[in-house]
């Protein structure tokens, strides 16, 4: 019993158990509706995790994340439909395109501090939205892009064929990319590079005085972040099979922001928790319509004033309090 408890308290075993449980979901859950909700949660979790990298760990309020999500989604769809590329090359190429755009936008906006970056990226998000809506020959304008095919099946050894046209195939694909994202993020956060990100967040002056190129650090964080959000955009495109300009708008940015803030800015698991809670509540409270959005707003304001580290941060400080009492 004791060893079992010990095993459970180890992060890695706990992680493996969670992974195993999630892998069981498509087998246990038969409802198409809930599978759909879970897949969306996986896709949006990736987006939330990537926003957290630049915003939570590097302290730069990127308000164009929806725009980059949209660029990744549109690029994937158009590469697959117009150039007949397969899903995997399209996924990578779209992420590269998004990264280049991110780099070009980061260069002028990241040179400045705080407010300018937030405003500049928000304006850029609007440009992306307008381009998606008006550049009809490329994006299909307000009608959008339809008929995006699912990734073609891949065959593994022993005659196993993974099909992505099924809900469970899509579920595993999204879960796989979420794990890759988590792995990358974990490695970055626990490295010298991640330490530089957090150093920039705390004080740019001190950080440049100890020989770290703050501009380069911010660019690296930003480009990595938009590379990853492009992956989630690609998943969204092939899963839903249809895109319209709204998917590239700042409303998407705000929603992903809500996931991150509620779950916990600058924590590893927070953005996922936030995505799960908001998505599930959103589905359950759908009938409330606009009142739901008022509630979103209230949650953002209240959380940021009273619990700025979100749910994960709240839990952490609670743990610390308990630990301090035990001592």
């Amino acid at each position: 019993m004791n060893t079992l408890l010990k095993l459970l308290s180890n992060r890695w075993t706990l992680g493996l158990i969670v992974i195993a449980l999630v892998c069981l979901v498509p087998i246990v859950i038969t409802s198409k509706y809930w599978m759909h909700v879970f897949i969306l949660i996986l896709i949006w979790s990736i987006a939330a995790l990537s926003l957290n990298l630049i915003m939570g760990y590097t302290g730069q309020a990127n308000l164009a994340h929806g725009g980059f999500f949209g660029i990744g989604a549109y690029a994937t769809a158009l590469l697959m439909l117009k150039l007949n590329l397969g899903f995997w090359p399209a996924l990578l190429l779209a992420a590269l395109i998004t990264s280049v755009v991110g780099f070009l936008i980061g260069l002028p906006t990241l040179r400045t501090k705080g407010s300018y970056f937030a405003i500049g990226t928000l304006c850029f998000n609007v440009i992306v939205f307008i381009a998606a809506e008006r550049w009809e020959s490329l994006t299909g304008g307000a009608r959008g892009v339809i008929g995006i095919p699912p990734p073609s099946p891949i065959s593994l050894p022993f005659g196993i064929v993974v099909k992505f046209s099924t809900l469970s195939g899509m579920f595993y694909l999204s879960f796989f990319l979420l794990l890759v994202t988590l792995f990358i993020k974990y490695r970055i956060v626990h490295s010298l590079v991640g330490r530089s990100f957090m150093a920039v967040r705390e004080s740019e002056d001190l950080t440049s005085s100890i020989g770290i190129d703050t501009m380069k650090t911010k660019i690296i964080s930003f480009v990595t972040s938009v590379f990853i959000v492009s992956l989630s955009g690609s998943l969204y495109a092939v899963y839903i099979g249809f895109l319209d300009p709204e998917i590239a708008s700042h409303h998407v940015t705000f929603e992903v922001l809500l996931f991150v803030v509620l779950g916990g800015i600058g924590t590893i698991a927070g953005p996922i928790i936030g995505t799960i809670i908001v998505t599930l509540l959103g589905e359950m409270l759908h009938f409330l319509e606009a009142f739901r959005l008022v509630a979103y707003g209230l949650v953002l304001v209240l959380v940021i004033i009273f619990m700025p580290q979100g749910l994960m941060g709240g839990i952490r400080s609670l743990q610390q309090k308990i630990a301090a009492r035990d001592m």
């Binding site: 308000l63 002028p108 400045t112 407010s115 300018y116 004033i305």
Partner: protein, 287 residues
């Protein structure tokens, strides 16, 4: 030639609205050092309130405008007290997030009350006059004149009254102002009241010409941000000049170039300017 003249007049009119919104924003930035993203939803609220007063309650247009100003001034104070003040010591990021929360609350709230449909004012000052060969409605002239008067009044307020001077002192040198015993909270309250009231005026002026709808503030607030970055955050002349410049560029660009991408011009200029001069065209006090 006629087209040029007409479009220039139009540009000045739209620029007036931009200038008024940007003025409120730049004042708030000067004091708080955070961009109040929620300023745009207050502008929209100002339009709805004016509409409500004129169309539903049958108020006189000017009385309706005054009511909208009053309500928004109170709203500005409430927002400052409840949301921005508690965050003053927190990282800037937190204020941005709170502002986005406010946008959600106000936009969804207005959607619940007024719905997604466009609202049209009953005709107001639609008489046409001939002006050097161009025809303009009286309302358009009113927009330009009222804005000009407000800008002059605001300048007098800031340069000549104690309350106004304390705003400028605080914006230019926070520590110095604190040492001189200026009550920061009071100044902040005043700035939010004045800034929000100006957004109400801007909305009340333009909405009889255009329509009133839920997302009308989105583009305006972003352009106002572009303007105050161009003009230098916290700079009053910068906001006014920048407002007219963006108004004219859009109006002339829309007439002679493409109307499709007209909306993008301002944002493209912004990113271009940031690339060349991160502190804005006239700005010295970057933050």
């Amino acid at each position: 030639m006629d087209l040029l003249f007409q479009q220039t007049l139009n540009g000045i009119m739209v620029g007036s609205v931009y200038a008024l919104v940007a003025l409120g924003l730049t004042l708030e930035y000067g004091i708080l050092h955070i961009p109040n993203f929620a300023h745009g939803v207050l502008y929209t609220l100002g339009a709805y309130l004016t509409f409500l007063a004129v169309a539903a309650l049958g108020y006189n247009y000017w009385l309706a405008m005054a009511c909208a100003m009053l309500v928004l001034a109170v709203m500005g104070i409430v927002i400052d007290r409840l949301v921005y003040q508690p965050l003053i010591a927190a990282p800037h990021l937190n204020s941005f997030i709170a502002a986005i929360g406010l946008i959600y609350i106000f936009k969804a709230g207005m959607l619940i009350i007024w719905g997604p449909d466009f609202k049209r004012f009953p005709p107001i000052n639609e008489e046409v006059i001939n002006f050097f060969g161009a025809t303009v409605t009286i309302q358009r002239i009113i927009i330009v004149l009222v804005t000009a008067v407000l800008i002059v009044l605001l300048n007098l307020f800031i340069k000549k009254t104690m309350a106004g001077m304390s705003i400028e002192a605080l914006a230019q040198d926070r520590e110095g102002a604190l040492l001189a015993g200026i009550n920061v909270k009071r100044v902040e309250t005043m700035v939010f009241a004045v800034g929000s009231a100006m957004a109400a005026v801007a909305a009340a002026l333009i909405s009889p010409i255009f329509l009133v709808y839920n997302t009308m503030g989105d583009a305006v607030i972003l352009k106002a941000f572009v303007i105050i970055i161009l003009g230098g955050m916290g700079s009053i002349p910068g906001a006014v000049i920048g407002g007219y410049i963006i108004g004219l560029i859009e109006s002339l660009g829309g007439a002679y170039l493409s109307t499709d991408y007209n909306e993008i011009v301002a944002f493209a200029i912004l990113i271009g300017v940031l690339a060349v001069k991160p502190t804005g065209l006239f700005g010295t006090r970057a933050h």
